[in-house]
């Protein structure tokens, strides 16, 4: 095959034409066109254009990269890599810990793969972006409806940074920069992110231990004081347990701190909404809303707050307005909060956000609607409880027990494995079931006590046969 990618390059020893044809699928200009273009520019070669770069800074060798692959080869390569994951395809996942195997209707993929959505960028030009803008306005509305909050932004990176952004926001709102209180039952990775984010800021992050699987309100009360910017609660929490969210929010408010809640969007088909129990800022990992697992991202950082705090929010906001002919339309608004206007005074540094994932969540929530979300929530909780029963009671598994039997839980529970976590995981795995994560992976949570525990999550996709299969595999 002929090739012209680097035809006019300065260094003929860069034998582009050998093995480099593959990139040409995406390049347009033929050698003849390149010559015409160079003539118009007034140079003799592409190399001349690069004389802008001092000669000694130009790389005088070819990059040491793996060889170029044609589409057939690339597909074979990726297929091979994919086959090395998960030991084949028919595994059944009870994995939890912040990402879940929920069902994604095909209609979500159909919309997210529309060229006009996924190959556009930030809707800077409203006239050429009403599709995205209206979608994100609808997204904001759906998130507010879901969480019972007043205002939603148009997305943050993911659940972990959303917590940190909420903490910063609370600090700005309360003007308290010295102390933040977080429950130990918040996802340990979210906590680690928050620690990273706060490290530079001389702000103390007080972690309230939750040895019982959820917060003890007395402990929380003791930790809060009038220096506290906010109390960060995850509900349902990392262990799967429900917190006494209303009481906790009240405790925060009592010291004029904000209540920041990280919620599970699916749980709101059944549980009280953050706005209902007094959350000031509600954040979430939105992965459960139609976003594939894809080894951890891209996911969706959800953030909603009370009306008064809108101008303190990080991230983009879409607003309704009218055009010069009075037609309803949508625009990026309150941009004075953002980095491209406010620079170092911005409410956040975020620029590229998670637009396509917000679109997925919008379509997903539209499809589920009122009844669908309630159905999913109920199915998850029923199946999770059935699984917990099977694993601990019905089948008399010596050695398996709920770590926090006194606590109600939603779709996920912490299982203590007296016989050893690794042994339990391997047995399940040999039968094609994945359970976890093991809590030992997160270092200390409440001391060493939880090293014999793991999480088990049960979504609406799991069937009774699969649950019984898992139970069977763990039977001694």
């Amino acid at each position: 095959a002929t090739c012209f990618g680097g035809l006019l390059s300065e260094n003929p020893s860069f034998a582009y034409c050998v093995g480099a044809e593959t990139c040409l699928s995406y390049l347009y200009n033929t050698p003849e066109q390149q010559r015409e273009m160079l003539a118009k520019i007034g140079v003799d070669s592409i190399a001349e254009l690069f004389e802008q770069i001092p000669a000694d800074l130009r790389l005088n060798r070819r990059l040491a990269l793996p060889p170029a692959l044609t589409e057939i080869e690339l597909e074979a390569h990726l297929t091979e890599l994919a086959a090395k994951n998960g030991e084949g395809r028919s595994r059944v996942s009870f994995l939890g810990g912040g990402a879940y195997d929920h069902f994604i209707p095909a209609a979500v993929d159909a919309i997210a793969s529309r060229s006009e959505f996924y190959t556009a960028y930030t809707p800077y030009q409203a006239e050429a972006s009403q599709g995205s803008l209206q979608t994100f306005f609808e997204y904001q509305t759906l998130i507010c409806q879901l969480a019972g909050m007043d205002v939603s932004n148009a997305s943050l990176y993911e659940g972990g940074t959303a917590v940190s952004e909420a903490v910063f926001m609370a600090m700005r709102i309360t003007n308290r920069h010295g102390k933040v209180v977080m429950l130990e039952s918040v996802h340990p990775e979210y906590r680690q992110v928050c620690q990273t984010y706060l490290k530079q800021l001389n702000c103390e992050l007080v972690v309230v231990p939750c040895p019982g699987g959820a917060a003890d309100p007395d402990e929380v009360r003791r930790a809060l004081d009038d220096r506290t910017a906010c109390l960060v609660v995850q509900h349902p929490n990392f262990f799967g347990c429900l917190e006494e969210a209303r009481e906790l929010a009240e405790l925060a408010h009592r010291v004029e701190a904000l209540a920041v809640v990280s919620f599970d969007p699916v749980s709101l088909g059944l549980l009280a909404r953050p706005g209902e129990y007094g959350a000031d800022i509600a954040v979430a990992e939105g992965q459960a809303l139609g976003i594939p697992l894809q080894y951890g991202g891209p996911y969706l950082g959800i953030m909603a707050c009370k009306n008064d705090f809108a101008r303190k929010m990080p991230g983009r906001l879409i607003g309704e307005t009218v055009d010069r002919q009075g037609r309803r339309c949508f625009v990026l608004t309150l941009q004075a909060r953002e980095q491209h206007i406010r620079r170092e005074k911005a409410t956040s540094n975020i620029c590229t956000n998670q637009g396509l994932l917000a679109l997925r969540a919008t379509v997903h929530l539209s499809l589920l609607g009122k009844s669908g979300l309630a159905e999913v929530a109920e199915l998850c909780t029923r199946k999770a409880h059935y699984a917990a029963d099977c694993l601990t009671r019905l089948a008399q598994f010596a050695g398996l027990e709920l770590a926090f039997p006194a606590r109600p839980f939603f779709k996920e529970f912490t299982l203590r494995c007296r016989a050893g976590v690794d042994e339990t995981v391997s047995r399940a795995r040999a039968a094609g079931f994945d359970i976890g994560p093991k809590l030992s992976a997160y270092g200390k949570i409440g001391g060493q006590r939880l090293d014999d525990c793991l999480l088990v999550a049960v979504t609406e996709k799991r069937t009774v046969a699969e649950i019984l299969g898992l139970a069977g595999a763990l039977r001694r």
């Binding site: 990726l78 190959t119 599709g131 209206q134 993911e158 992110v193 549980l271 309704e320 956040s348 909780t381």
Partner: protein, 491 residues
């Protein structure tokens, strides 16, 4: 052919009882709900979500999509954003079972294929950067900046130095100062030379032992390569600081010049730009960073390492956290779906392809500059790298035609607008980045459109665009009386 029902809001279509997604009945033994979830924990109010059918949802969003311009439909020369073609094979391959459905908490030995891919990507990005240590964790360029600044901060702390300032030129992208502030640094903005380059004496006058990092975009946001970058770096290094390269413009130099070779200590990539993410109507991105070896220990975890490489045993990949890590900057590994696409692109291009990409990006930009400079002056001169910043200032002064007017009118011609009013150092800036995946024919048509537009009546341009679904929304009203969500008529 516009469907007039299309611009209704989702909520306008809702009718009680309509359904789209329906779930199976529960197949497990039923315990009363109250027994498992206490009533006090349950919601007291009915859910407010809309009620729609599946055909309705599809028709709504398919029609909405057609109100967008996009790379697949239009030339989209949005400067600084590298709106290149997004290969369809990436979508197919990132969607393979075993990749798209891999759980982040799947144990490493069940994710060896994925870890191998991510490991290779780390290696590739290190090689292109000329910087040996890579973290794939940051979710976008801005988070890459922030992360790298935290790394610098940890590094200085480790050395026992207290450095509090981050310097950047006034042409810097807004994320640079915002990230610096977020990372707890004091921001110092430097003025540039009249040509828009880093002003060495200005830099020198601000460098001191409180200087942690100098952030510089290279090629800079004017599309010019900082010719003095080695001297710049030497000055910063002499003052004990580190040089951060904002890699948003790597599409100009990948395979041709390496940040690590021209003095950068740290950099980020925008995988969604340079390595064709895609852009997803605003995101997701992926903003991996590459740093010098002495900074490697401070990178956030997890990072993929390979055991037994070079030994007889089969290679095994593991996730580790560097010893002095700043900690996590997000949950899980990173925006893997985008990283997979970037990997696919880099494996498609290979070494020669990466270089050809930059060469053609620079060729296209210079050609367009040559076509346009007579009608739309480019203050920075005759040459550029992968993009250039034209100015409508003369037109504005003489005939009242602004950069915005031209941008809006371009939409009528079937072209997305360039980036306008950035960088801030150019008045009436129009930042034009054609990318390498556009043809001479398209560039010619675009140049012709600009020529036509600048000859049009100013009044007509103020009202442009004329052929889009809406025109010139009232931004002031949107900000003064913000309506940030739909509310039911009753409320």
């Amino acid at each position: 052919m516009r469907n007039r029902q299309a611009t209704q809001l989702l909520f306008d279509h809702s009718k009680p009882g309509r359904r789209a997604a329906i779930f199976p009945a529960s197949d497990v033994l039923e315990r009363p709900l109250d027994e498992i979830i206490p009533l006090a924990q349950r919601t007291a109010l009915p859910l407010q979500l809309p009620e729609l059918t599946e055909p309705e949802v599809i028709r709504h969003f398919v029609n909405l999509s057609t109100e967008n311009m996009s790379v697949d439909t239009h030339f989209y020369p949005l400067g600084s954003c590298t709106m290149k073609y997004n290969p369809k094979r990436h979508e197919r391959l990132a969607g393979l079972a075993g990749i798209v459905d891999l759980h982040p908490n799947q144990p490493g030995d069940q994710a060896q294929g994925m870890l191998e891919l991510l490991y290779s990507l780390q290696q590739i990005l290190a090689e292109i950067a000329g910087l040996p240590a890579v973290s794939l964790q940051p979710a976008a360029g801005a988070q890459g900046e922030f992360t790298a600044l935290l790394v610098a901060s940890a590094y200085f702390r480790d050395k026992g130095e207290r450095r509090t300032k981050v310097l950047f030129p006034n042409s810097a992208h807004g994320t640079n100062p915002a990230s610096a502030a977020l990372a707890g640094f004091q921001c110092v903005q430097l003025s540039s030379t009249p040509q828009g380059f880093v002003d060495l004496s200005e830099l020198q006058s601000h460098l001191d032992d409180a200087t942690a990092v100098f952030m510089v975009t290279n090629p800079n946001t004017l599309g010019m390569f900082e010719r003095e970058i080695t001297r710049v770096a030497r000055l910063v290094h002499d003052a004990g600081g580190l040089v951060y390269i904002d890699g948003a413009n790597m599409n100009a130099i990948a395979g041709i010049a390496r940040p690590g070779d021209f003095g950068g200590d740290m950099m980020h990539y925008n995988v969604h730009k340079t390595f064709t993410g895609p852009h997803g109507a605003g995101g997701p991105g992926a903003g991996p960073i590459a740093v010098r070896d002495f900074l490697a220990d401070f990178l956030p975890g997890p990072i993929v390492v390979s055991d037994a490489a070079g030994t007889a045993k089969p290679v095994f990949y593991r996730l580790v956290t560097p010893p002095k890590s700043i900690g996590r900057v997000r949950s899980f590994f990173g925006n893997v779906g985008i990283l997979v696409r970037g990997y696919c692109y880099l494996r498609t291009l290979g070494a020669a392809g990466v270089r050809a990409m930059s060469e053609n990006a620079v060729l296209n930009a210079n050609y367009l500059l040559a076509q346009l400079k007579d009608v739309l002056p480019v203050p920075q001169g005759e040459r550029c790298m992968h993009e250039f910043v034209a100015s409508a200032r003369l037109l504005k002064d003489s005939r009242g035609i602004s950069a915005m007017d031209i941008a809006k009118r371009l939409l009528d011609f079937g072209f997305h607008a360039p980036t306008v009013y950035f960088p801030l150092v150019v008045a009436e800036a129009m930042m034009i980045e054609p990318t390498e995946t556009e043809s001479k024919e398209t560039l010619d048509a675009f140049a012709q459109a600009i020529r036509t537009i600048v000859a049009e009546d100013a009044e007509y341009l103020h009202l442009a665009p004329h052929e889009t679904p809406i025109s010139r929304p009232d931004d002031v009203r949107a900000a003064r009386q913000p309506i940030l969500k739909w509310t039911p008529p009753a409320e």
